[in-house]
Symmetry: C2
Subunit: 164 residues, 2 copies
DNA sequence: TCTATTGACGTTATATTATAACATCTCTAG
DNA sequence: CTAGAGATGTTATAATATAACGTCAATAGA
């Protein structure tokens, strides 16, 4: 399975690997992987949940970084821009990318119960748009694919069904 | 083509039809299609762009309705709840549904240049999730499908390519 | 090495989006 | 013709996001 996030894995390694990738990328591309950017990426990697910008900021303040919103937003923007994180539009929150440095259109499954999030890659050649967009003559540049529901654990744990 | 929004159509009829559908639905389901709710739906129908809650509010104020955010948000929530409008998460904005009262997972193509939006229906049996969700055991309840890019007009009009 | 330029970081201030809580009024059900 | 539910309006506040500016650090040329 290509889907990360609902399965247990070696999370310590997950973080170490990702940081290494980010460092290599930054060196190769002459961008600065600064302490605050590194720390924010670590925070996002700490669990497979999404963090709001102000959640991130709160942590940064405690650790002696700047205390104002732009500090968090700028670090998050850097990570998103360079493919190390994604914004979950539905939640106004950010999450580390599960497939860094691979070109992909990310898609997310968001558990409304436990807030776990899994990222999957979509095949760029199908999906809900590629036929409709072609017919309409629409040129896709970016996509947002987000599904909300119940993760495997919460389904079997008997979470209450969504009300209409 | 099932895609509405990038093609010209009888827009006056579009509005009239939709209001009639909403009225019939409301009568049948014993919910109140009140003046402010009707007016907000008309506003959303006036073009195929999305309106922010505060855009809607501004119009309502001018027309003598309440002047505070909940007035707009409550009308929009009603329309979304009953299937007459959708929220575009990427834009924090609202748009009239193009397929009211048909069960569907909406998908949107959003022109970053002229802001036109087309809604298409996704086939619930494919899409980027149905295979990944099944493999993962994730139970989908709601989906957000939004593509940003250039509409046919803006593509041929030579809009500047998106910067990386 | 020494500057010039760019980019990062921190701040203050403000903009934008959204909801909580409560009073009043209206519709609906009995 | 009431009792209850729902709709509307308000005030106040919460949550999310960006503009603008000064300072400092990294990088690139000379
Ligand atoms: Zn990703
Ligand atoms: Zn869960
Ligand atoms: Zn729709
Ligand atoms: Zn356009």
């Amino acid at each position: 399975m290509d889907t990360k996030g609902f399965a247990k894995h070696d999370h310590r390694a997950c973080i170490v690997d990702m940081i290494a990738v980010a460092e290599a990328y930054s060196a190769a591309n002459k961008v600065q992987f600064t302490p605050v950017r590194r720390r924010v990426l670590e925070l996002l990697l700490e669990d497979h949940k999404a963090l709001g910008a102000y959640d991130v900021l709160e942590r940064l303040v405690k650790e002696g970084y700047g205390s104002q919103p732009p500090v968090a937003y700028r670090a998050l923007d850097f990570l998103v821009k360079h493919g190390f994180a994604h914004k979950i539009e539905r939640l106004n929150a950010y999450i580390a990318c599960a497939h860094p440095q691979k070109i992909h259109a990310p898609a997310f499954m968001i558990c409304r119960q436990c807030k776990a999030i899994a990222e999957t890659m979509t095949t760029p050649t199908k999906g809900p748009f590629n036929q409709a967009a072609e017919e309409a003559g629409f040129q896709i540049e970016r996509t947002v694919f987000e599904a909300e529901g119940l993760c495997p654990k919460c389904v079997s744990g008997g979470a209450p069904r969504e009300v209409s």
